[in-house]
Amino acid sequence: MLSAQELVWLMAAVAKGDRAAFERLYAATRAKLYGVVLRILRRQDLADEVMQETYLKIWNSAGQFDPALASPITWMVAIARNRAIDLVRKKTEVSIEEESDVFDFAADTPDPLAKREMTEELQRLLACMARLDEERRRLVLFAYYHGWSREQLAAKFETPVNTIKTWLRRALLDIRECLGA
């Protein structure tokens, strides 16, 4: 992965319509974005479709990217996740059923990063999440990594969906207060 600064530079070039820069941006970010959407969609054909839409959107809206608001990779991941979740919500009947086949190798535990590789923001966020109850922390992480709806989380956690909603919102409020921003 290129540094955030290099990605910002590439993004600026992409905003001007530089195809070579776009190809470099793709090469630097494709595996991260594919990992994100494949985890949510669990089907290569759907993940491939979302990758196309995501990069088309990145190509078309690179000019709207504001480095003061987000890092390039965070911005791109947000686009990819939103596309993937929008798609999976229309196909829930498929995705719940096919939960545990080919991609079981993608463990439920997140990719362990050496602490020195973590950004400061990530370290702060994880410190705040560590203060949540074990179960609520798992709930938030499952939601983020799998893109699961409240209903899916309710099934997984064997808890009523209203309780899941309350837990989620309280956990998010706690995170917000802990981060203080």
Binding site: G17, Y26, R30, A31, K32, L33, Y34, G35, V36, R39, I40, D48, M51, Q52, L56, K57, W59, N60, S61, L69, A70, T74, W75, V77, A78, I79, R81, I85, D86, R89, K90, A106, P110, D111, P112, L113, M118, T119, E121, L122, L125, L141, A143, Y144, Y145, G147, S149, R150, E151, L153, T166, L168, R169, R170, L172, L173, I175, R176, L179, A181
Partner: protein
Amino acid sequence: MTDETETPDGLAAEYVLGTLGADERAQAEALIGNDPAFARLVRRWERRLGELHAMMHSVEPPPDTWARIQARIDGAAPRAATLVQPDQAVVAAPESNVVALSARLQRWRQVAAGLGALAAVLVALVAIQALNPAALPGLLRPKPIEIVKTETPVNPGRFVAVLQQNAAAPAFILTVDVATRTASVRRVSAEQPAGKSYELWLVSDRFPAPRSLGLVGASEFARPALASYDPATVSSATYAVSLEPEGGSPTGAPTGPILFTGKLVESVPPSP
């Protein structure tokens, strides 16, 4: 029952986390496109949670994905040309439907970007003129509203409107499904004054007086039926929310101030 977490910020947080169902996602996306304050809440949550992706495994996509992305870009016509003269993007292309749609989207984006505020004001004027004051005895100086409707990609023929006077004012999200003739309205950030209820009305020149569509639930959806109205009426009607005594208007006509009015206007989903 009031729930301290039932706030726009809670909705923004869950949108970013990804736990909303299709309907609530469509509503959140409508808000993002039309309510700058809500869009800011979403951006803040993206900053707070966005770094979590760093803990996810990378997976190489299939090698032909890049070729498909390039083909999509080439098929979608050069951006500059599309932006300046959207109509030219429709010229002969293998996937002319896709291109035409993309051109239409670009045109709408132009409108949205350049004329958003003006369009909202015009629509508001149209909406207010569409009201027949004589038919509304309780009409007390309706304020200009910001009404925006989004045809969601989830279900063509379903419209989502944000009823809001300005970013600081209480907001309602109105969902109308023309095909099934159902409407729901949800309070997002409006406080319900004690002893009062919000009531949703359909106003159409086909009827001498506004028709009540039911009360607006606290945080739950009300499901007032539109079954007795034909689709043309549903899509051409003006919708209004009034503040009524608890339990709704005692007379069957709006008695309190009209807080919001709006019409369904064709638009496109905001870019996420």
